[in-house]
């Protein structure tokens, strides 16, 4: 039994959870669905007491078990030792044999199959690790059990086994909360579905009264229009010159791998990496040095500083000067420096006829940026396309894709859909992103 009322939580400028009230009763399975970043996990961490809410209140009856998306296991220890760690923090002497006997009893009580508890956890498959996490959580007999994306690493068979356990627990009176963005399984296992978007609850329904399409539309708000695929285009092909082609999808469906593959295949193209602090800039070096990294010319500090001053003015980077450390810039200004480097590199080579010399691959170019910086990045990308660049925009921000792109493709589990015009795409994207098309 769990009651949240008017809970709010922000990270920096983003409202992760915005005035949410939710009641979860014993003996049922509630699915919490939404896109990445919709606030599902944050809300549940507040419910479990892992995060403090800024305002609002949380009432819990009984203990809470939380199975995290990322394993909280000690790889060097055995299954039995991990269970012993979770069950008690009291100091005691125990032989391996004792721990193993206790572990077997614990596992038997949960009704989940897990044999040979003397195995090292590091040697287990992901599926088994996630089972062990589940056993750890259930062993404490919590009144509420929260599972964060539990099926993302499971085979279909393992997922079925998990659902059986969930149903049994619910029948025995436990409140089960199940975070997911896989709509078919949500409808199959949950009694009640709660949809979150932008930190708010936007829909709440009984699973039996809803369809995957309804939920997808609630998760991703788009006006549905009719139309057909433009199947003349090759989905694997690069965008044409002057065109912006967007690839959209829920994060983690292969976007990162796609961008890395394009980087290796077209090292001469302009690349705006998704993770700008790790991949975009060398934080320890100056703005001038970072801007010169792609240049094929010889390195001359004075000339580089002059070039950097020009770029700082042209891209309105808020910096103390060309010798400022790139790592000390704000996120938006870092992104401007990356744009300056990559776009000027491109215009430098635009006389070339080779196709990759006009290509810009921009992955999540405005993630985490404020409105002004976002608009700036968009303007720059449009201007680049107008002057003949071919832009591949990989983004999880649908507004961005529809605002900029001439064509849209959806990436789901590493596979690209066909290329669609925005008109056609607006009716299909939600379903394609959720994998139900």
């Amino acid at each position: 039994m769990l009651q949240l009322s008017h809970v709010t939580k922000s990270f920096g400028a983003t409202r992760a959870v915005d005035d949410v009230s939710l009641e979860i009763a014993s003996g049922g399975i509630v699915a919490l669905v939404g896109e990445n970043g919709a606030g599902k996990t944050t809300l549940m961490r507040i419910a479990a007491g892992e995060l403090a809410a800024e305002s609002g209140s949380v009432t819990r009856t009984g203990g809470i078990g939380f199975v995290h998306q990322h394993f909280q296991l000690v790889g060097e220890l055995t299954i039995a030792e991990n269970l012993a760690l979770a069950s008690s923090t009291r100091f005691r002497f125990a032989t391996a044999r004792t721990l193993e006997r206790e572990a077997e009893t614990t596992i038997a009580a949960t009704g989940i199959a897990m044999t040979n508890v003397s195995r090292r956890v590091a040697d287990l498959s992901v599926g088994e690790k996630s089972k062990l996490e589940l056993i750890k959580a259930i062993a404490k007999k919590p009144a509420t059990l929260i599972l964060d994306e539990p099926t993302s690493v499971l085979t279909p068979y393992e997922a079925e086994e998990l659902f059986r356990v969930m149903r049994r627990l619910a029948a025995a009176g436990t409140a089960v909360v199940f975070i997911s963005h896989k709509l078919p399984e949500v409808l199959a296992v949950a009694d009640r579905v709660v949809v979150m978007r932008g930190g708010k609850i936007v829909a709440e329904t009984r699973a039996s009264d809803s369809t995957a399409e309804d939920l997808a539309r609630a998760m991703v708000p788009l006006v549905s229009r009719s139309g057909s695929y433009d199947d003349k285009q090759n989905p694997e092909g690069l965008p044409r010159e002057g065109e912006i082609a967007a690839i959209v999808g829920v994060a983690g469906n292969g976007q990162t791998e796609l961008a890395a593959r394009l980087r290796d295949r077209f090292p001469d193209a302009a690349h705006i990496p998704e993770d700008r602090t790790r991949d975009g800039l060398v934080a320890e070096m100056t703005i001038a040095e970072n801007l010169a990294l792609r240049s094929s010319r010889s390195w001359n500090p004075r000339e580089a500083a002059r070039h950097a001053e020009e770029m700082i003015a042209l891209y309105s980077v808020r910096a103390s000067g060309p010798y400022q450390r790139a790592g000390d810039l704000s996120g938006g200004n870092q992104q401007k420096v990356i744009l300056a480097r990559e776009l000027s590199h491109l215009s430098h080579r635009s006389h070339s006829s080779h196709e990759s010399h006009h290509l810009i691959v921009a992955a999540e170019p405005t993630r985490g940026l404020d409105i002004e910086a976002t608009r700036f990045v968009h303007d720059q990308l449009r201007a680049a396309a107008d002057s003949g660049a071919a832009i591949l925009l990989i983004t999880s921000d649908l507004d961005e894709a529809f605002a900029l792109a001439d064509t849209i493709q959806v990436i789901y589990r590493g596979t690209l859909s066909e290329r669609m015009t925005p008109d056609i795409a607006s009716g299909k994207v939600a379903n394609l992103m959720a994998g139900i098309a």
């Binding site: 990496p273 991949d279 060398v282 990294l293 001359n300 450390r325």
Partner: protein, 327 residues
Amino acid sequence: MKRALSGFNRSLTGFAAAAVAVLLLALSGAAFGHSPLELLTILVNGSVGSRFALEGTLLKSVPLLLTGLSVAIAFRAGVWNIGGEGQFIVGALAALLASRWGVAASLLAAMLAGAAWASIAAAMRLLRNAPEVLTTILLNFIAIHLLGWCVNGPLRERAGQYPQSDAAAAALPLFGSVHAGVFLAVAASVAAWWLLYRTAEGLRLRATGFNPSAAKWAGINVKGQLARAMAISGAAAGLAGGIELLGVTHRLFERFAAGYGYSGIAVALLAQLHPLATIVSALFFGALVTGAGELQRTANISAAVAIFGQAVVILVLIGFERARSRP
């Protein structure tokens, strides 16, 4: 402006670490019944107090400067070349073999051999992902035993009396009792500075060292960069071995390397990996080694105290870094 200030700060840290290390060294002498002030006097006089002492310091500083540069260049590129000792030895071996064609050929051979030896580790890292920290150390042992076998076997002196080689056929010109290697070493550090801070190669090398992932996204061939950095680093250590042979020992013997390769790590770290600061840092450690020799002669304290001094410098530096990164 900001950059100049932080450079000043860094050199201040280096000087402070060196001063604290010398003081600790002198104070620790008190534990063995010596007056710290007396030890300090011997240390200073024995390293810079006379023309003879100064020349000794200068001679010891030359190999330290080059092995220090070797370490600094590799570390700047993010590769951990701990193999200076082995590269120093194979450099000297090649220099000996090529000495019949003159000093220039001999030193060139030393650099090539050092580069080749380091490239074995680079190849294992790039092709088989073997950590270079391990492979460079293991290659040190191979080089040490290779040298031992050479001076007991094929390269043993014709007189056949000691396990050492004949004198090399060429020698570096002398200025007083100081050989021309001093100028070469200083020229090498200016060249290393120029490479790191005034060429596109150096820019990419440093970018690779700071953040290989960002370097890759910026279109830099990270593997090639690492391979070249390792070869340059090995060439510097090899040159150190060649100069030591042609300028100081003229013969090879089993304990020829005398830890110069490893000491280069301390030299580079005290210089905060800056090629020009490495000159000052090498002089300091050269003085420490020379002064420690004097301590052994007059106060009967083992010259190994110089190694103790190196360790203290590194520990003090780490302490400073910690203190600085805390707030």
